[in-house]
Symmetry: C2
Subunit: 213 residues, 2 copies
Amino acid sequence: MTPWYVLTVPMARKTGSHSDITGPKVREAAMRLFTEHGYAAVSMRQIAADVGVQAGALYLYTPNKQTLLFTLLFEQMQGAVEAMKAADLKGPPEAQLEQFVRAHLRFHMGGESGSFIPYTELRNLTPANYEKVEVMRRIYETALEDIVAAGARSGVFAVEDSKLTTLVLISILNGVLAWYRPGGRVKLDTVEAHYVDIIGKAVRPARVDVPAE
Amino acid sequence: MTPWYVLTVPMARKTGSHSDITGPKVREAAMRLFTEHGYAAVSMRQIAADVGVQAGALYLYTPNKQTLLFTLLFEQMQGAVEAMKAADLKGPPEAQLEQFVRAHLRFHMGGESGSFIPYTELRNLTPANYEKVEVMRRIYETALEDIVAAGARSGVFAVEDSKLTTLVLISILNGVLAWYRPGGRVKLDTVEAHYVDIIGKAVRPARVDVPAE
DNA sequence: GTCTATAAACCGATAGAC
DNA sequence: GTCTATCGGTTTATAGAC
């Protein structure tokens, strides 16, 4: 402890003091690196190097690596739910489905950099953290399932098992990650149109060669 | 070197000597663990524990961890190409596409345990190994692209960009991994029928309300 | 707020006994 | 063919200087 008679004056900070800017940078770097290489393959040192600080400094912004992943995944899922609610789906099931597809793709692929951690990273969460994210995921997918079920009831969709179809549709939508890269040769609008078309046709009844009635 | 006068007799092997059985077990364990947790998250010690040997013993069956992943991915891709060729696709594009979908799903999901390492693990290969697997992948996907292109030419498929559509179809097919578990409540036959239906409708022209001609 | 240094655990891979 | 023991390197996370 410094004795009272030793005058202490505010020192010029030797190294940068950038709490407000470093925090977001840590999250952006982690999101990008986790997405690209996977949680297990990325070290805290790599994240730190990407941000431009030493590894120890990261622990001012997250208590540990696991919490960093959890926070990113939870807020991503939360954001998807909010985007879906903000889309304010209305109209017949066919229209609602199209709005859902567009909202999903725009939220998940809209960022300029890889701004979407794939669902497969959920396996790296502790059981307790997984459960919390799962709650949000259930809310999100139930919204889609409701649309599918409504369309199945009214007959505009040819769907036997709404739950199964919903899982398939989600997997199709997330499959975009396997080939689409923001800023690549294919524009987001094209992707959107493509998936609205494909998913629309997938749930609607097959073309009938002999017109009924 | 042992001198000629020292008699050597075949010794009773103290510990198990199971080269013929341990080899496959190592590959099965690695395949299952890589699929479930991802390459980077699985240690050689975990694989060894799953097989029932000590970590050092694994190196009798693979020179290193990277080669283990490479071998599994390369042979998987090779198997897919062979299964596709064995399917002997024939008939009009619509029929060929259905055969391709069925062959793909049966090959990749047919095993009783998780017998399909997802394509995302390709990112864990060294560049040299990646290139070798990529050669096989290109052969496989080109076969699908040929079918799509033929259907587009003849007009039975409503496809603008055959290359793009092929990527989307592959991602849809591989998306099965995201929700389907062999031995679960959904039977493989159901999955097959579902995807034949969805993919067929996705590439065919949309339903026309006013019959042409 | 960031750095350096370090603790404790774990990693891939090898050597040598049996 | 397998085990035990171990090397050298890396990991997450913390302590303390500045």
